[in-house]
Symmetry: D2
Subunit: 479 residues, 4 copies
């Protein structure tokens, strides 16, 4: 694949890229190709380890060790989170950061086969590909460091090890701790089923656990002496289901029941809902959140129980950055997409038979780069908090078979195998090239800053997570 893409680069380079850059661009790409096997194995190890948010002890350590070996200075356990860290190399400005995540999702354990088969039944799995995410960002940081060192260039490359992206909002606490204050630009990426440096934003989110408390009693001999906390869950969730019709269609409300009673013959004394609400604008979401709180109060009121809310997380919508989108798009097109082998095509074709009817897409799309303006259906990310305090840029790389739903066993099966690794290297290369562009060209940093100021305007960043709240280190515990 590289041969074809290289010729494209040379053509572009001849016209648009400063002559001095041609040299490091090829070295970065070649260097990452050479390290692909090693990085791929690390991603596999983290994939197999599959630790959920704030429990990523081993995954975090693996990444730290790699960076430390390469000479990065490590600050670990930052911002009150044992698995968060910052790894820095170099000195002076600009300071360019790359963020990496490494938490898994509950229950998505899966083998790298194209039919549903758990590695460990009920165990977590990398259905969002954060095993690739953390490693690609690290690989990019290492590649940039190699160039800075070899060329004795000024400037700082930094890796942010950000835990618990899936609901735990690790970055919020890192922002609060001021860890991004001296960064000029921060880069990040996410695994996906396509390659794109998107102009799109993400969804703002607020999440909480709603805990109801009733009165236990023998469910057969004295149900009238009990007050069921599970009944309160039923009333609240029904009200939430009804609420969906009466909020803007771009909103999202989704919940699970994290405590639903202990034994059928005991009237449930305790029950719990874990709920996310999302909307493209945090300001609108605030209003929706007020209404959700009322459904919870109603659940308690209707059933003679009491209710308490534990805010778990919140992140605003991501602030897009025009200049960074353009820069990432150009580099992503230089790098090119993912081409499948015959075996990978066969895997993909089989996997697609498990998709919902009408959702599979052409396998060859993995090899293409989408236009930045393509509309995306997106989730939320705590990278959004970062995007409100420092200029940032992001991209997606095709680590899953086209059409793969996120947070699925299908996604896990891709992120543990060769398809995922190939997409990971697309991201690593694009991020490394972009970081070097920023480190070697002050006008690009200035453009990123200008885009940031323009989009943000006079708006002020303020997390909906109270200043006094500590990171919810136990949010994945079930009691």
């Amino acid at each position: 694949m590289w041969q074809r893409t290289l010729s494209t680069i040379l053509v572009i380079a001849a016209t648009a890229i400063p002559v001095t850059a041609q040299d490091w661009r090829k070295q970065i790409v070649d260097g990452l190709d050479a390290a692909a096997e090693r990085h791929g194995q690390l991603s596999r190890t983290i994939w197999e380890t599959a630790e959920v948010g704030y429990k990523e002890t081993r995954s975090s350590a693996l990444l730290r060790d790699e960076l430390r070996s390469a000479g990065f200075r490590i600050d670990d356990g930052v911002a009150g989170m044992p698995t968060a860290f910052v790894a820095t190399w170099g000195s002076g400005t600009p300071v360019i950061g790359i963020m990496g995540e490494f938490d898994a999702l509950p229950g998505l354990s899966q083998e790298t086969v194209p039919e549903q088969k758990a590695r460990v039944a009920g165990a977590p799995g990398h259905g969002c590909g954060h095993n690739l995410l953390g490693v690609a960002s690290m690989a990019a940081a290492l590649a940039v460091k190699a160039q800075l060192e070899a060329r004795k260039l000024p400037g700082t490359i930094r890796y942010y090890g950000t835990p618990a992206e899936e609901g735990g909002n690790g970055k919020v606490y890192m922002v609060r701790a001021g860890l991004f204050k001296d960064a000029d630009v921060v880069l990040h990426w996410h695994p996906n089923d396509r390659n794109i440096a998107a102009r799109a934003s993400t969804l703002a989110v607020i999440s909480a656990k709603f805990r109801f408390k009733g009165v236990a009693s023998h469910a057969a001999s004295a149900p009238d002496k009990g007050r069921s906390a599970l009944d309160a869950v039923m009333v609240m969730t029904h009200a939430v289901d009804l609420l969906r019709e009466h909020i803007p269609q771009e909103s999202r409300l989704h919940y699970i029941i994290t405590r639903g009673g202990l034994a059928p013959n005991i009237v449930p004394e305790s029950a719990e809902i874990y709920l996310y609400a999302r909307h493209p604008q945090i300001g609108v979401l605030d209003g929706i959140w007020e209404r959700i709180l009322k459904t919870a109060e109603a659940g308690a009121l209707a059933t003679g129980t009491t209710m308490e809310v534990e805010l778990v997380g919140s992140t605003p919508e991501l602030l897009p950055n025009e200049a960074m989108t353009a820069l990432l798009d150009r580099n992503l097109r230089d790098v090119g997409g993912v081409t499948y082998t015959a075996d990978e095509r066969a895997f993909a074709a089989t996997l697609q038979t498990s998709f919902m009817p009408g959702t599979a897409r052409e396998i060859d799309e993995a090899a293409t780069i989408r236009p930045p303006d393509e509309p995306l259906t997106l989730g939320s990310t705590d990278a959004a908090d970062v995007s409100w305090v420092v200029p940032s840029g992001w991209m997606l790389a095709a680590t899953y078979v086209p059409g793969t739903p996120g947070h699925s066993w299908q996604a896990t099966s891709c992120t543990g195998g060769t398809i995922g690794r190939k997409g990971m290297m697309v991201a690593a290369k694009t991020l490394a090239l972009t970081a070097m562009d920023l480190l070697t060209d002050p006008t690009k940093v200035a453009s990123a800053r200008a885009s940031f100021e323009k989009t943000k305007g006079s708006r002020v960043y303020k997390s909906r997570i109270p200043e006094t709240a500590a990171p919810p280190l136990g949010y994945r515990d079930t009691k």
Copy 2:
């Protein structure tokens, strides 16, 4: 049938009944047999008229006319209810009352055939047999009056025409107006599928309409600008459904949705639930009612709507009366039950095929008299309010095929035909004999009073309907 029963009476009479009574007992029974066809036709006319609560204009008039023709003095439109009346004959004490009802139920129109076939689709029907109820009580009053007149006996016989028993609680307002103050004993009966002078009580009830108000909007183009009153109904009813598990099993909660939106493409601005709550004791029911009010508040709270409650009715549990139960039981056994003709047996057998599996009972049971202690599964009656202010007695007569569910098309088909009429005459005779017993034997009135005082004890009657509330003359209107 009478032949057989008569011999029984003679045997009993020879031992237990004062000799002077033998004469009027036979005259009452014979007289009512002679009038059976005329009374039956009147019951059929009211059955066909089928007017719902507080709308029984013609039904009430038919009964009044009959009583007026016989020389009764009529007070109509009493207690603020156009269809309520009191008809009185005679003077002096004791004052013995017999209560009659005549309202139909919505939607139960039915031909007198043993398969479901509406006379007028959607129209009301006498699925509770109040067409028989009002006429039997009137027939008894007329029979008693004939005896008082012929024998120039002192004492007063009175007919209470009580409207809207099915949810409108006409008797509550008649009690409040003091219309029972000078009565010594009041008798009543109810159609059923069995003959019994029951010691059982009835269920206390509170009923109300819960009205929710939201904000209308175009359901497709702006559902987020609407607040659905129907959503509030959904939340409240679900909470009520859950509540059933956590109240005593003898309670009853049942509701209908009387307003559920105007057009699907308009977010419902208004919606309404009409709900009954019941329990064997009004004191316990008060506590359940408090919890129901909370479910309604929760419905509004959860959906951003407002709620108002209109209390429609309430009646306590009926106070049983030992002495009157014994007296009615003896007279009912004298009169005997209902024997079917071959045609009626065939009708009954066909009708029973439409019953829920396992609920049909032996047809011959209609001819038997049940023991007073038999447990009954009962509804509520506003006769209960009367039972708290004056000694009263009551009985059931077999006007429906054994096993017929109340408030069903099957019940309507029985109450319009010969089976219903036969049961009606059992009640008429029993009530007339009992009233004469009371009018001719002061010790029986004293016993009824003593039983009343003993059962009531120090408890004070107080309707849950506020003193200031007028009769809900429009409670059957749908808006």
Copy 3:
């Protein structure tokens, strides 16, 4: 207002419009201004009459009489619908149709005051402004006829009187009857809170009544012998509420409960839901509809009841027409928007205080013309069926105060007053000018046809309403 707009027209006319047209353009506008009071009064009469779908006997007759008086030939009672008609004037080609609607919505009766106050409590009201719709289209047809007659021009102008747009889908049956076969172009419009000749489509819709049948029983004494049809409604609606999360966000599901039980003390034997499902593409909607049918089956299965579906209506998404959008946009800009008097501004300001927070818009927007590409939040229309069989064009005119939700009392209050009438005349003028453009310039008809063929492509129109289904003349009846 006209003075200002007229000068604009003259400027435009001097450059872009054939010289011969200048003459009739002014005459049409002047003529409609002269007739505005008369047309306004007719719209008010229909507004006060407020007849729901298929019951528009008087409203339809008022429009027919007016057209007949002007010399149109009337075919009434067409396509099996007593209130549908076709009025034709002239002969030969092209045949240009204008569609008019005149049905009201249940329960939206309202005075022309800026606070909620029903004219007749519970009565229908013109909350969608079809009183204006039918009259503006008629006014345009009369204005065109006057020009054709005066100038002895060839061609045919036709008015389609289309009943029951709100859910009854009158136009589907008129399409089926072939009434649009010889039409070259058909025009229509709709009242709204803005002026726009929109390129946007509408939502495809399928609607049905789901009827459940259970077993009646006394709700207190034998609830276990009953099978509640209302329970089935509760299960189905809850499932529908849950379904909303798992269909594309542009879909719409909304329902009302049209039968919710007869009396609380009877287990409901019969219950009914009236539901609409919508999506921007009828093909996708088919799949959603299959899932809704399953929720209904589940409702019956879970409750031991039976279910039947009555398909009430269906219409696909509207096919936009590039050429017609451009032509209507030009004429709409010539005509100009709606300027309020001081009194109307005061009315509007007061009315806006009743809107949901954040939804009111600048009053002056009523005077502006929106760009055709503006995204709209739309409902559905059976004009869509017409758009699949004949080239058609449509527009919106500002007949409600900016920000007014459709299908609301606020909309009714606008459509009965001067604000509504002014918007109505904007539509009348624009439609008349456009019809004359088409009648006098064959290239415009050809362009409309070309746009139609291009957008439709090889797709085939097929209504989801079975060929054998008669118009649901009783769909607004509640039983």
Copy 4:
């Protein structure tokens, strides 16, 4: 307390009990009093161990060890259940069994204090008092063995160690394995808040886990590609809630949600309900169960998911035994109830302040013996299966403060303290006296057999648990 009771015994003994019995009766009571401290400590150890059904490894071993030390022969791991055992002493007939249970309930961990305070948050607790149950039965068996041994009496005393009574139905598999075939009479008891040898039966029960499977997807970016298994739970549970109104009021339906989704941002692929249904007659329950299965099928149908049922347990209603009730009642009255110390009274008074209003009862009731006919509100027990295959007798002893709801933290706090131990000894003494009565008087065994045959009649025992189903050893696991 014993002094008073003893004199009563002497009076009774002088008239009704064979003279030879007077000797062993006193020895049994004295012996058990002497061993009370030791037995109490064992009950406390099991209370602290608190192992749930089929996990009672240590609790079962403690009891076995005690019995083995006393010379009983032990068969352990019987009927395919590691914690089930049979301990036998003696030989020949009659064979008298006493059953003991020892499983705890999830989540009811509690200190022996009168306010809610978990020993270990979320851990199991003896909220049903099976720590007392197993020990009292063992104590009785040891006391009987001592008499048989000392007096060289023929006959066999047997202890059945029956695991997982709370939903796991250990006794069903022991019946199936034929372990009760040679038993003449089997005794059992249960902790309660009163002392009674009840004539009442228990509720038949069927329990199952309903597992739904859907399709996972990203809940924000692709909810329409997911099919929520939790939605199926919501539909099924709502239908179950509605069903409660339409089954006999003595029925019970209660459920918990044992799997409610893994993470809010994943559409739940898997969800599970654990449900019990009960009714006083297994035959009626069969019909209710059919309807519950339909609600589960409806849940899947409505949501596009699939469903599977795992039957966890079933037990019929207990067959009362006239003769055994009379015998146990007499012995229970000999033994007498529980008298509280001042400290225990204070504990009880404080505990009662945590009860639902109106449910506390007089503390002194613990010292009284209730009449056998008193109506009880009961749960279910797998002792019922035993009661269908061998004559059996049972009783309740007051181990909780009067008014304590079963399966509550209040019950746990009582069963770990002195109040529980006192009640336990009431049971131990009564069971031992009764077993000795049976071992020494063949007519009593014959009477028990006659009562058994009479009540059972021609009915045939058949568990609703399939013959092929193994014990659900993992039913308390949450996955």
